[in-house]
Symmetry: C2
């Protein structure tokens, strides 16, 4: 008897009115793997919500766990209070990686190589204590893989002070620009340099806390200090 496979997630998110861009549509993608990869490479998102009819955009930490994103904050913070009000809070969560500065012969064709993911949806507070504890672990892991098992987990008092909201990956798109400049043929003889300056995120040598016992070794999951 053949094994029954669980229903797999379709390879792409459905596109909707608001996930189809009005411009540069060729840069948009709904590919699940690409979306996951972009989300997994980051740990800071920009979370947008509406307050008194006006937009608010705040940077915050997030984590992806399967098809769900988690964002955490103080129980007193505005978006998290909003998400706790039963109906949830309409949000837009955006993650962006800048990969390069694109220098063209013409000012007009200057650009940036980037990968971004935009998630639309309703954020809800996570009330289940188990899921909240797992989400907090995931947020630590997202920024520093390996760290959540190597720190003291939140106690009941700390958990009570921390709100976690969830946002499911349903209405999602990725957008990316890669490659060199797209100059006009008639500009190619101009004397200006053209090409791409790669941009990356770099980590410096870890700086121990002032109150750290110097005999505690640097864990393997952190970058080694440069010689």
């Amino acid at each position: 008897m053949a094994a029954v496979s669980p229903a797999a997630d379709p390879p792409a998110y459905p596109s909707t009115d608001r996930t189809v861009p009005t411009r540069a549509r060729e840069r948009a993608s709904y590919d699940r793997e690409l979306v996951h990869a972009v989300l997994d490479e980051g740990y800071v998102c920009h979370l947008g919500f509406v307050r008194d009819g006006a937009p608010v955009v705040l940077p915050t930490l997030y984590a992806r766990s399967g098809e769900r994103l988690y964002v955490h904050g103080s129980t007193g913070s505005r978006p998290l209070r909003g998400a706790g009000a039963g109906e949830g809070l309409p949000v837009c969560l955006t993650v962006t990686h800048v990969d390069g500065l694109v220098l063209a012969k013409s000012a007009f064709h200057h650009s940036v190589n980037y990968r971004s993911v935009v998630v639309h949806g309703i954020a809800y507070q996570v009330t289940d204590p188990e899921e909240r504890a797992r989400a907090l672990d995931a947020i630590v892991e997202q920024a520093v893989p390996g760290r959540s098992a190597d720190s003291r987990r939140a106690n009941a008092k700390e958990l009570a002070k921390t709100a976690v909201v969830r946002l499911d990956l349903r209405e999602v798109s990725a957008k990316a620009r890669t490659g060199g400049p797209n100059d006009e043929p008639e500009d190619l003889a101009l004397p200006h340099w053209s090409g791409v300056v790669p941009v990356t995120r770099a980590y410096g040598d870890p700086v121990p806390a002032d109150d750290l016992d110097p005999s505690v070794p640097l864990p393997d999951y952190l970058p080694r200090p440069r010689p």
Copy 2:
């Protein structure tokens, strides 16, 4: 007769209901120099606006010119079309720099060192051709200082395809976290490493365009290739 000085901008932006955070108020600042410094170090912002009652957050290039920010895009893009509709478009423009991962003994006190600026206001399309041309130069300069004079300026046809919106720096706040972890005294004896992993933006060796004449030298304003 003493020279009359022009009225100087006050050293701080006035705080308003929406620029006073509900939490971590000690991290908020309205200092004009700090706000300018954070804005000047970046070139990609996250622009939030409201569409059909829901928030939208998109990454985009920006430039600061005095007390005004410029954002550009295709004349067909949603926020820029909205800003052209006479009354302007309520936006929130946020710029964030991540400076470090803060690892505490307890999961709860994990954090990120960062500097961010949040600007609230109404974005208007720039209709004056002179100001639009200056704004486009500024956007190129913001990402690559020295570049706008070393590229072909936009011609009339390109200018017609490019929309620029302006957003004045009036309702603005900066927020920053610096320093090491703030652990609970009773956690200090735990065996976990604690401290900060610095995060920086790095530039790689410039990659010439495929169609660049190899005799064109790398300009001085770009990073030198590493030996």
